[in-house]
Protein backbone atom coordinates (compact mmCIF):
# COMPACT_ATOMS: atom_id res chain seq x y z
CA UNK A 1 0.00 0.00 0.00
CA UNK A 2 1.22 3.47 -0.80
CA UNK A 3 1.94 5.65 2.20
CA UNK A 4 -1.18 7.55 3.16
CA UNK A 5 -1.17 11.23 2.36
CA UNK A 6 -1.75 13.46 5.35
CA UNK A 7 -4.75 15.08 3.66
CA UNK A 8 -7.57 13.31 1.97
CA UNK A 9 -9.79 15.31 -0.26
CA UNK A 10 -13.54 14.94 -0.63
CA UNK A 11 -14.54 16.81 -3.79
CA UNK A 12 -18.30 16.43 -3.68
CA UNK A 13 -20.39 16.66 -6.82
CA UNK A 14 -20.01 20.39 -7.52
CA UNK A 15 -16.23 20.36 -7.67
CA UNK A 16 -16.48 17.97 -10.60
CA UNK A 17 -18.94 20.22 -12.44
CA UNK A 18 -19.76 23.90 -12.02
CA UNK A 19 -17.13 24.28 -9.33
CA UNK A 20 -14.28 22.64 -11.21
CA UNK A 21 -12.15 25.77 -10.83
CA UNK A 22 -12.30 25.25 -7.07
CA UNK A 23 -10.84 21.78 -7.46
CA UNK A 24 -8.17 22.99 -9.86
CA UNK A 25 -7.12 25.88 -7.66
CA UNK A 26 -7.25 23.85 -4.47
CA UNK A 27 -5.01 21.12 -5.85
CA UNK A 28 -2.64 23.69 -7.32
CA UNK A 29 -2.44 25.63 -4.08
CA UNK A 30 -1.74 22.56 -1.99
CA UNK A 31 0.84 21.37 -4.48
CA UNK A 32 2.61 24.71 -4.24
CA UNK A 33 2.47 24.44 -0.47
CA UNK A 34 4.01 20.98 -0.75
CA UNK A 35 1.09 19.47 1.08
CA UNK A 36 -0.10 16.75 -1.28
CA UNK A 37 -3.76 15.81 -1.11
CA UNK A 38 -5.29 12.60 -2.32
CA UNK A 39 -8.85 12.20 -3.53
CA UNK A 40 -11.02 9.95 -1.37
CA UNK A 41 -11.48 6.80 -3.47
CA UNK A 42 -15.04 6.00 -4.56
CA UNK A 43 -16.61 8.79 -2.50
CA UNK A 44 -20.35 9.27 -2.78
CA UNK A 45 -22.55 12.35 -2.73
CA UNK A 46 -22.80 13.88 0.76
CA UNK A 47 -26.54 14.36 0.38
CA UNK A 48 -26.28 18.13 0.80
CA UNK A 49 -29.24 20.00 2.21
CA UNK A 50 -31.54 18.10 -0.07
CA UNK A 51 -31.26 14.59 1.32
CA UNK A 52 -31.78 15.95 4.80
CA UNK A 53 -35.14 17.28 3.59
CA UNK A 54 -36.24 13.80 2.67
CA UNK A 55 -34.73 11.49 5.25
CA UNK A 56 -32.49 12.23 8.15
CA UNK A 57 -31.39 8.64 8.60
CA UNK A 58 -30.47 8.06 4.98
CA UNK A 59 -28.71 11.40 4.83
CA UNK A 60 -26.60 10.42 7.81
CA UNK A 61 -25.78 7.01 6.35
CA UNK A 62 -24.68 8.54 3.05
CA UNK A 63 -22.31 10.81 4.89
CA UNK A 64 -21.15 7.96 7.09
CA UNK A 65 -20.04 5.90 4.11
CA UNK A 66 -17.62 8.65 3.15
CA UNK A 67 -16.27 8.88 6.66
CA UNK A 68 -15.80 5.12 6.78
CA UNK A 69 -13.96 5.18 3.44
CA UNK A 70 -11.73 7.92 4.78
CA UNK A 71 -10.92 5.81 7.78
CA UNK A 72 -10.00 2.89 5.52
CA UNK A 73 -7.25 4.93 3.93
CA UNK A 74 -5.67 5.71 7.25
CA UNK A 75 -5.72 9.47 6.86
CA UNK A 76 -7.13 11.48 9.70
CA UNK A 77 -7.86 14.71 7.86
CA UNK A 78 -10.57 14.86 5.25
CA UNK A 79 -10.76 18.16 3.43
CA UNK A 80 -14.25 19.06 2.24
CA UNK A 81 -14.02 22.31 0.27
CA UNK A 82 -17.74 22.73 -0.43
CA UNK A 83 -19.55 24.38 2.46
CA UNK A 84 -22.54 22.10 2.10
CA UNK A 85 -20.39 18.93 2.09
CA UNK A 86 -18.40 20.25 5.01
CA UNK A 87 -21.49 20.93 7.07
CA UNK A 88 -23.25 17.72 6.10
CA UNK A 89 -20.31 15.49 6.96
CA UNK A 90 -19.81 17.22 10.27
CA UNK A 91 -23.49 17.28 11.09
CA UNK A 92 -23.70 13.54 10.56
CA UNK A 93 -20.83 13.06 12.98
CA UNK A 94 -22.69 15.15 15.52
CA UNK A 95 -25.93 13.23 15.02
CA UNK A 96 -24.12 9.94 15.50
CA UNK A 97 -22.41 11.23 18.63
CA UNK A 98 -25.55 12.72 20.18
CA UNK A 99 -28.28 10.22 19.31
CA UNK A 100 -27.81 6.55 20.20
CA UNK A 101 -30.52 5.47 17.80
CA UNK A 102 -28.82 7.13 14.85
CA UNK A 103 -25.51 5.68 16.00
CA UNK A 104 -27.04 2.21 16.01
CA UNK A 105 -28.49 2.55 12.53
CA UNK A 106 -25.18 3.82 11.27
CA UNK A 107 -23.31 0.92 12.77
CA UNK A 108 -25.72 -1.55 11.27
CA UNK A 109 -25.39 0.03 7.85
CA UNK A 110 -21.60 0.04 7.93
CA UNK A 111 -21.54 -3.58 8.98
CA UNK A 112 -23.90 -4.64 6.20
CA UNK A 113 -21.91 -2.70 3.66
CA UNK A 114 -18.68 -4.23 4.93
CA UNK A 115 -17.20 -0.91 5.93
CA UNK A 116 -15.19 -0.10 9.05
CA UNK A 117 -16.79 1.54 12.04
CA UNK A 118 -16.57 5.28 12.31
CA UNK A 119 -13.56 6.65 14.02
CA UNK A 120 -12.06 10.03 14.59
CA UNK A 121 -11.84 11.38 11.05
CA UNK A 122 -11.49 15.13 11.15
CA UNK A 123 -13.52 16.92 8.52
CA UNK A 124 -11.59 20.02 7.54
CA UNK A 125 -12.26 23.06 5.43
CA UNK A 126 -9.48 24.46 3.21
CA UNK A 127 -9.83 27.93 4.73
CA UNK A 128 -9.17 26.59 8.17
CA UNK A 129 -6.36 24.32 6.94
CA UNK A 130 -4.67 27.33 5.36
CA UNK A 131 -5.12 29.28 8.56
CA UNK A 132 -4.23 26.64 11.13
CA UNK A 133 -1.88 24.20 9.41
CA UNK A 134 -0.05 26.57 7.10
CA UNK A 135 -0.47 29.78 9.07
CA UNK A 136 -0.52 33.44 8.21
CA UNK A 137 3.20 33.88 8.72
CA UNK A 138 4.15 31.14 6.29
CA UNK A 139 1.65 32.29 3.70
CA UNK A 140 3.22 35.72 3.85
CA UNK A 141 6.68 34.24 3.41
CA UNK A 142 5.65 32.03 0.51
CA UNK A 143 3.95 34.80 -1.40
CA UNK A 144 5.89 35.47 -4.58
CA UNK A 145 3.68 38.11 -6.12
CA UNK A 146 1.10 40.60 -4.97
CA UNK A 147 -1.84 42.26 -6.58
CA UNK A 148 -1.35 45.98 -6.44
CA UNK A 149 -4.28 48.06 -5.24
CA UNK A 150 -7.03 45.52 -5.78
CA UNK A 151 -9.75 45.56 -3.14
CA UNK A 152 -11.77 42.45 -2.41
CA UNK A 153 -14.65 41.45 -0.17
CA UNK A 154 -14.37 38.13 1.60
CA UNK A 155 -17.58 36.15 1.57
CA UNK A 156 -18.03 32.94 3.53
CA UNK A 157 -21.57 32.05 2.66
CA UNK A 158 -23.59 30.40 5.32
CA UNK A 159 -22.83 26.83 6.18
CA UNK A 160 -19.10 26.88 6.79
CA UNK A 161 -19.29 29.01 9.90
CA UNK A 162 -22.51 27.65 11.31
CA UNK A 163 -23.16 25.32 14.24
CA UNK A 164 -21.18 22.24 13.26
CA UNK A 165 -18.04 23.86 11.92
CA UNK A 166 -14.83 25.21 13.26
CA UNK A 167 -13.85 27.29 10.26
CA UNK A 168 -14.13 30.66 11.92
CA UNK A 169 -16.21 32.71 14.33
CA UNK A 170 -19.88 32.39 13.32
CA UNK A 171 -20.66 36.02 14.12
CA UNK A 172 -17.61 37.93 13.02
CA UNK A 173 -15.31 35.76 10.97
CA UNK A 174 -11.94 37.34 10.19
CA UNK A 175 -9.64 34.55 9.08
CA UNK A 176 -10.28 34.97 5.38
CA UNK A 177 -9.43 38.66 5.64
CA UNK A 178 -6.20 37.75 7.40
CA UNK A 179 -5.27 35.23 4.73
CA UNK A 180 -6.04 37.65 1.93
CA UNK A 181 -3.98 40.40 3.55
CA UNK A 182 -1.11 37.98 4.06
CA UNK A 183 -0.95 37.33 0.33
CA UNK A 184 -1.12 41.02 -0.45
CA UNK A 185 -4.77 41.71 -1.13
CA UNK A 186 -6.58 44.73 0.27
CA UNK A 187 -9.89 43.78 1.89
CA UNK A 188 -12.99 45.88 2.50
CA UNK A 189 -15.05 45.56 5.68
CA UNK A 190 -17.84 43.50 4.19
CA UNK A 191 -20.61 42.93 6.69
CA UNK A 192 -22.65 40.44 4.70
CA UNK A 193 -19.87 37.86 4.94
CA UNK A 194 -22.14 35.13 6.22
CA UNK A 195 -25.44 36.15 4.67
CA UNK A 196 -26.78 33.20 2.70
CA UNK A 197 -26.63 33.28 -1.12
CA UNK A 198 -29.80 31.22 -1.33
CA UNK A 199 -28.04 28.01 -2.31
CA UNK A 200 -30.17 26.09 -4.79
CA UNK A 201 -32.89 28.74 -4.81
CA UNK A 202 -31.55 30.32 -8.01
CA UNK A 203 -32.57 27.08 -9.71
CA UNK A 204 -35.89 26.59 -7.97
CA UNK A 205 -37.42 29.91 -6.95
CA UNK A 206 -35.28 31.82 -9.34
CA UNK A 207 -36.35 35.43 -8.66
CA UNK A 208 -35.80 35.15 -4.96
CA UNK A 209 -32.42 33.50 -5.41
CA UNK A 210 -31.23 36.14 -7.86
CA UNK A 211 -32.44 38.90 -5.57
CA UNK A 212 -30.33 37.61 -2.68
CA UNK A 213 -27.26 37.61 -4.88
CA UNK A 214 -28.03 41.07 -6.15
CA UNK A 215 -28.02 42.34 -2.55
CA UNK A 216 -24.68 40.67 -1.87
CA UNK A 217 -23.06 42.05 -5.01
CA UNK A 218 -24.46 45.51 -4.61
CA UNK A 219 -23.20 45.85 -1.05
CA UNK A 220 -19.73 44.69 -2.10
CA UNK A 221 -19.75 47.31 -4.87
CA UNK A 222 -20.93 50.02 -2.52
CA UNK A 223 -17.97 49.32 -0.28
CA UNK A 224 -15.61 49.70 -3.19
CA UNK A 225 -14.73 46.04 -3.60
CA UNK A 226 -13.62 45.08 -7.10
CA UNK A 227 -14.05 41.37 -6.55
CA UNK A 228 -15.56 38.93 -4.10
CA UNK A 229 -13.73 35.95 -2.67
CA UNK A 230 -15.69 32.78 -1.89
CA UNK A 231 -15.06 29.37 -0.33
CA UNK A 232 -18.05 27.45 -1.63
CA UNK A 233 -18.88 26.27 -5.15
CA UNK A 234 -22.52 27.17 -4.82
CA UNK A 235 -21.84 30.72 -3.63
CA UNK A 236 -19.34 31.18 -6.43
CA UNK A 237 -21.78 29.90 -9.00
CA UNK A 238 -24.70 31.99 -7.78
CA UNK A 239 -22.71 35.20 -7.59
CA UNK A 240 -20.90 34.59 -10.86
CA UNK A 241 -23.56 33.21 -13.17
CA UNK A 242 -26.44 35.65 -12.86
CA UNK A 243 -24.74 39.02 -13.17
CA UNK A 244 -25.90 39.53 -16.76
CA UNK A 245 -29.46 38.94 -15.65
CA UNK A 246 -29.04 41.32 -12.72
CA UNK A 247 -27.65 43.98 -15.06
CA UNK A 248 -30.65 43.64 -17.28
CA UNK A 249 -33.13 43.72 -14.43
CA UNK A 250 -31.67 46.56 -12.43
CA UNK A 251 -29.64 48.56 -14.91
CA UNK A 252 -26.82 48.38 -12.42
CA UNK A 253 -23.36 48.09 -14.05
CA UNK A 254 -22.30 45.01 -12.11
CA UNK A 255 -19.54 42.93 -13.67
CA UNK A 256 -17.54 41.64 -10.76
CA UNK A 257 -15.08 38.75 -10.67
CA UNK A 258 -16.09 36.10 -8.13
CA UNK A 259 -13.00 34.24 -7.04
CA UNK A 260 -12.23 31.24 -4.91
CA UNK A 261 -9.92 31.87 -1.99
CA UNK A 262 -7.69 29.13 -3.38
CA UNK A 263 -7.39 30.99 -6.67
CA UNK A 264 -6.17 34.14 -4.97
CA UNK A 265 -3.78 32.29 -2.67
CA UNK A 266 -2.63 29.94 -5.42
CA UNK A 267 -1.82 32.85 -7.70
CA UNK A 268 0.13 34.62 -4.96
CA UNK A 269 2.15 31.43 -4.49
CA UNK A 270 3.01 31.37 -8.18
CA UNK A 271 0.24 29.30 -9.76
CA UNK A 272 -0.75 30.25 -13.27
CA UNK A 273 -3.98 31.43 -14.80
CA UNK A 274 -5.25 28.22 -16.31
CA UNK A 275 -4.11 25.77 -13.69
CA UNK A 276 -6.02 27.86 -11.16
CA UNK A 277 -9.14 27.70 -13.31
CA UNK A 278 -9.29 31.47 -13.64
CA UNK A 279 -10.36 31.09 -17.26
CA UNK A 280 -13.62 29.51 -16.15
CA UNK A 281 -15.19 32.65 -14.74
CA UNK A 282 -18.30 34.07 -16.33
CA UNK A 283 -18.31 37.58 -14.88
CA UNK A 284 -15.54 40.15 -14.68
CA UNK A 285 -13.32 38.39 -17.19
CA UNK A 286 -11.52 41.54 -18.31
CA UNK A 287 -10.45 42.37 -14.80
CA UNK A 288 -9.35 38.81 -14.16
CA UNK A 289 -7.14 38.83 -17.20
CA UNK A 290 -5.78 42.20 -16.29
CA UNK A 291 -4.91 41.10 -12.76
CA UNK A 292 -3.83 37.55 -13.15
CA UNK A 293 -2.30 36.94 -16.54
CA UNK A 294 1.43 37.17 -16.32
CA UNK A 295 2.72 40.58 -17.23
CA UNK A 296 6.18 40.51 -15.83
CA UNK A 297 6.68 44.26 -15.72
CA UNK A 298 3.54 44.93 -13.69
CA UNK A 299 4.26 42.33 -11.04
CA UNK A 300 5.95 43.21 -7.86
CA UNK A 301 8.11 40.39 -6.67
CA UNK A 302 8.60 40.33 -2.96
Amino acid sequence: MEPSARYLYYPGCSLKGTGIAYEESLLTTFRLLEMPVKELPDWNCCGATTYMSVSETSATLLAARNLALARQTGSKDLIAPCNACYLTLRKSQRLVADYPQIAQETERFLEQAGLPRLDSVRVRHPLEVLYNDVGIQRLRELTVRRLQGVRMASYYGCQAVRPYGEVDDPHEPTRMDEILRAVGVEVVGYNLKTKCCGGPLTGTIHDVGVRLNYILLKEAMRLGAQAMVTICPLCQFNLDAYQAEIRKQTGEPIDMPILYLTQVVGWALGGDYRELGLHRAISGRKLLEQWFTVRKEAETYV
Binding site: G17, N44, C45, V54, C196, I205
Partner: protein, 189 residues
Protein backbone atom coordinates in the same frame (compact mmCIF):
# COMPACT_ATOMS: atom_id res chain seq x y z
CA UNK B 1 -54.11 41.62 4.55
CA UNK B 2 -56.38 38.69 5.03
CA UNK B 3 -56.44 37.39 8.57
CA UNK B 4 -57.24 33.84 9.39
CA UNK B 5 -58.72 32.81 12.67
CA UNK B 6 -57.61 29.53 14.11
CA UNK B 7 -59.51 27.67 16.77
CA UNK B 8 -58.03 25.54 19.46
CA UNK B 9 -60.01 22.52 18.31
CA UNK B 10 -58.12 22.53 15.00
CA UNK B 11 -54.87 22.11 16.85
CA UNK B 12 -53.21 18.77 17.30
CA UNK B 13 -51.36 19.06 20.56
CA UNK B 14 -50.30 15.46 20.58
CA UNK B 15 -48.48 16.05 17.29
CA UNK B 16 -46.75 19.08 18.78
CA UNK B 17 -45.77 17.03 21.79
CA UNK B 18 -44.32 14.24 19.68
CA UNK B 19 -42.51 16.80 17.59
CA UNK B 20 -40.23 17.82 20.42
CA UNK B 21 -38.89 14.27 20.68
CA UNK B 22 -37.05 14.35 17.37
CA UNK B 23 -33.37 15.11 16.93
CA UNK B 24 -32.85 18.85 16.89
CA UNK B 25 -36.42 19.69 17.82
CA UNK B 26 -36.04 19.30 21.58
CA UNK B 27 -35.93 22.99 22.41
CA UNK B 28 -39.08 23.94 20.56
CA UNK B 29 -40.93 24.87 23.73
CA UNK B 30 -38.16 27.17 24.93
CA UNK B 31 -38.96 29.71 22.23
CA UNK B 32 -39.77 33.11 23.69
CA UNK B 33 -41.18 34.49 20.41
CA UNK B 34 -38.57 37.22 20.29
CA UNK B 35 -38.45 37.25 16.50
CA UNK B 36 -34.67 37.17 16.21
CA UNK B 37 -34.95 34.26 13.79
CA UNK B 38 -37.27 36.19 11.48
CA UNK B 39 -35.05 39.22 11.68
CA UNK B 40 -31.96 37.20 10.82
CA UNK B 41 -33.47 35.07 8.08
CA UNK B 42 -32.44 36.38 4.65
CA UNK B 43 -35.58 34.87 3.18
CA UNK B 44 -38.25 35.86 5.68
CA UNK B 45 -39.52 38.73 3.54
CA UNK B 46 -40.42 36.23 0.81
CA UNK B 47 -42.08 33.76 3.17
CA UNK B 48 -45.79 33.36 3.83
CA UNK B 49 -45.09 32.56 7.48
CA UNK B 50 -42.03 33.99 9.19
CA UNK B 51 -39.77 31.54 11.03
CA UNK B 52 -41.07 32.86 14.35
CA UNK B 53 -44.64 32.19 13.23
CA UNK B 54 -43.69 28.69 12.15
CA UNK B 55 -42.33 27.97 15.61
CA UNK B 56 -45.47 29.37 17.23
CA UNK B 57 -47.77 27.30 15.02
CA UNK B 58 -45.80 24.10 15.45
CA UNK B 59 -45.86 24.17 19.19
CA UNK B 60 -49.56 24.96 19.27
CA UNK B 61 -50.15 21.99 17.02
CA UNK B 62 -51.36 23.66 13.82
CA UNK B 63 -49.90 20.96 11.70
CA UNK B 64 -51.45 21.56 8.31
CA UNK B 65 -50.84 25.29 8.35
CA UNK B 66 -47.11 24.80 8.63
CA UNK B 67 -46.89 21.77 6.38
CA UNK B 68 -48.68 23.59 3.59
CA UNK B 69 -46.65 26.76 3.94
CA UNK B 70 -44.12 27.83 1.34
CA UNK B 71 -41.84 28.93 4.14
CA UNK B 72 -40.42 25.52 4.84
CA UNK B 73 -39.40 25.22 1.19
CA UNK B 74 -37.92 28.68 1.00
CA UNK B 75 -35.72 27.89 3.97
CA UNK B 76 -32.26 27.44 2.48
CA UNK B 77 -30.87 25.75 5.62
CA UNK B 78 -28.39 28.53 6.18
CA UNK B 79 -28.52 28.13 9.97
CA UNK B 80 -28.39 31.89 10.58
CA UNK B 81 -31.47 31.71 12.78
CA UNK B 82 -30.17 28.74 14.76
CA UNK B 83 -26.89 30.49 15.49
CA UNK B 84 -28.61 33.69 16.61
CA UNK B 85 -31.54 32.31 18.59
CA UNK B 86 -31.10 33.38 22.23
CA UNK B 87 -32.92 30.24 23.35
CA UNK B 88 -30.83 27.88 21.22
CA UNK B 89 -33.85 26.62 19.32
CA UNK B 90 -32.56 24.78 16.29
CA UNK B 91 -35.00 26.35 13.87
CA UNK B 92 -33.19 24.89 10.86
CA UNK B 93 -33.67 21.33 12.15
CA UNK B 94 -37.33 22.07 12.81
CA UNK B 95 -37.69 23.28 9.21
CA UNK B 96 -36.00 20.10 7.98
CA UNK B 97 -38.34 17.96 10.00
CA UNK B 98 -41.33 19.84 8.57
CA UNK B 99 -40.06 19.38 5.02
CA UNK B 100 -39.76 15.66 5.57
CA UNK B 101 -43.23 15.43 7.00
CA UNK B 102 -44.72 17.55 4.22
CA UNK B 103 -43.20 15.26 1.60
CA UNK B 104 -44.42 12.10 3.35
CA UNK B 105 -47.92 13.49 3.81
CA UNK B 106 -48.07 14.90 0.29
CA UNK B 107 -48.94 18.31 1.62
CA UNK B 108 -46.58 20.44 -0.36
CA UNK B 109 -47.76 22.88 -3.05
CA UNK B 110 -48.18 20.89 -6.27
CA UNK B 111 -45.65 21.42 -9.03
CA UNK B 112 -43.66 23.47 -6.57
CA UNK B 113 -40.11 22.86 -7.74
CA UNK B 114 -38.30 22.30 -4.46
CA UNK B 115 -39.89 19.08 -3.19
CA UNK B 116 -39.68 17.80 -6.75
CA UNK B 117 -35.99 18.60 -6.84
CA UNK B 118 -35.56 16.87 -3.49
CA UNK B 119 -37.05 13.64 -4.79
CA UNK B 120 -35.12 13.66 -8.06
CA UNK B 121 -31.94 14.36 -6.19
CA UNK B 122 -32.42 11.53 -3.71
CA UNK B 123 -33.39 9.02 -6.38
CA UNK B 124 -30.30 9.82 -8.36
CA UNK B 125 -28.01 9.62 -5.37
CA UNK B 126 -29.44 6.31 -4.25
CA UNK B 127 -29.16 4.78 -7.69
CA UNK B 128 -25.78 6.15 -8.69
CA UNK B 129 -24.07 7.35 -5.54
CA UNK B 130 -23.45 10.75 -6.99
CA UNK B 131 -25.55 13.49 -8.39
CA UNK B 132 -24.88 15.03 -11.74
CA UNK B 133 -25.90 18.66 -11.48
CA UNK B 134 -27.13 18.92 -15.02
CA UNK B 135 -29.36 15.84 -14.87
CA UNK B 136 -30.91 16.69 -11.52
CA UNK B 137 -31.86 20.15 -12.70
CA UNK B 138 -33.10 18.83 -16.02
CA UNK B 139 -35.33 16.21 -14.46
CA UNK B 140 -36.62 18.62 -11.85
CA UNK B 141 -37.59 21.08 -14.57
CA UNK B 142 -39.33 18.42 -16.63
CA UNK B 143 -41.44 17.42 -13.67
CA UNK B 144 -42.33 20.86 -12.37
CA UNK B 145 -42.22 23.49 -15.08
CA UNK B 146 -40.36 22.69 -18.31
CA UNK B 147 -40.54 26.33 -19.34
CA UNK B 148 -37.83 27.25 -16.87
CA UNK B 149 -35.40 25.29 -19.03
CA UNK B 150 -35.59 28.09 -21.57
CA UNK B 151 -34.51 30.68 -19.05
CA UNK B 152 -31.74 28.39 -17.90
CA UNK B 153 -30.41 27.83 -21.38
CA UNK B 154 -28.30 30.96 -21.38
CA UNK B 155 -26.60 30.16 -18.09
CA UNK B 156 -26.15 26.59 -19.25
CA UNK B 157 -24.47 27.74 -22.43
CA UNK B 158 -22.10 30.03 -20.53
CA UNK B 159 -21.14 27.20 -18.22
CA UNK B 160 -20.67 24.81 -21.09
CA UNK B 161 -18.29 27.19 -22.83
CA UNK B 162 -16.18 27.44 -19.69
CA UNK B 163 -16.05 23.69 -19.21
CA UNK B 164 -18.20 23.88 -16.11
CA UNK B 165 -21.14 21.85 -17.29
CA UNK B 166 -20.58 18.14 -17.24
CA UNK B 167 -23.10 15.95 -19.03
CA UNK B 168 -21.52 12.82 -17.69
CA UNK B 169 -23.74 10.74 -15.51
CA UNK B 170 -21.52 10.07 -12.55
CA UNK B 171 -21.62 6.76 -10.75
CA UNK B 172 -19.60 5.24 -7.94
CA UNK B 173 -17.97 1.83 -8.32
CA UNK B 174 -19.19 0.03 -5.23
CA UNK B 175 -22.80 0.97 -5.79
CA UNK B 176 -23.94 -2.22 -4.05
CA UNK B 177 -23.02 -0.72 -0.70
CA UNK B 178 -25.79 1.80 -1.06
CA UNK B 179 -28.51 -0.83 -1.17
CA UNK B 180 -28.32 -0.95 2.62
CA UNK B 181 -29.43 2.65 2.85
CA UNK B 182 -33.16 2.43 3.35
CA UNK B 183 -35.30 3.76 0.55
CA UNK B 184 -37.30 6.70 1.81
CA UNK B 185 -39.81 4.98 4.02
CA UNK B 186 -43.37 5.90 4.86
CA UNK B 187 -42.30 6.92 8.32
CA UNK B 188 -40.84 10.36 8.75
CA UNK B 189 -37.31 10.05 9.99
Amino acid sequence: MERQIRYQREADLEWAHQFTKHPGCERLLSCIQCGTCSGTCPLSIYMDLTPRQVIALVREGFREDVLRSQTIWLCASCYACSVECPQKVSITDIMYRLKREAIRSNLYPKRFPIPVLAREFCDMVRQRGRNSEFWVVFRMAMRSNPKILLSMARTGWELWRKGRLSLRRERIQRINELQYIPATSKEVD
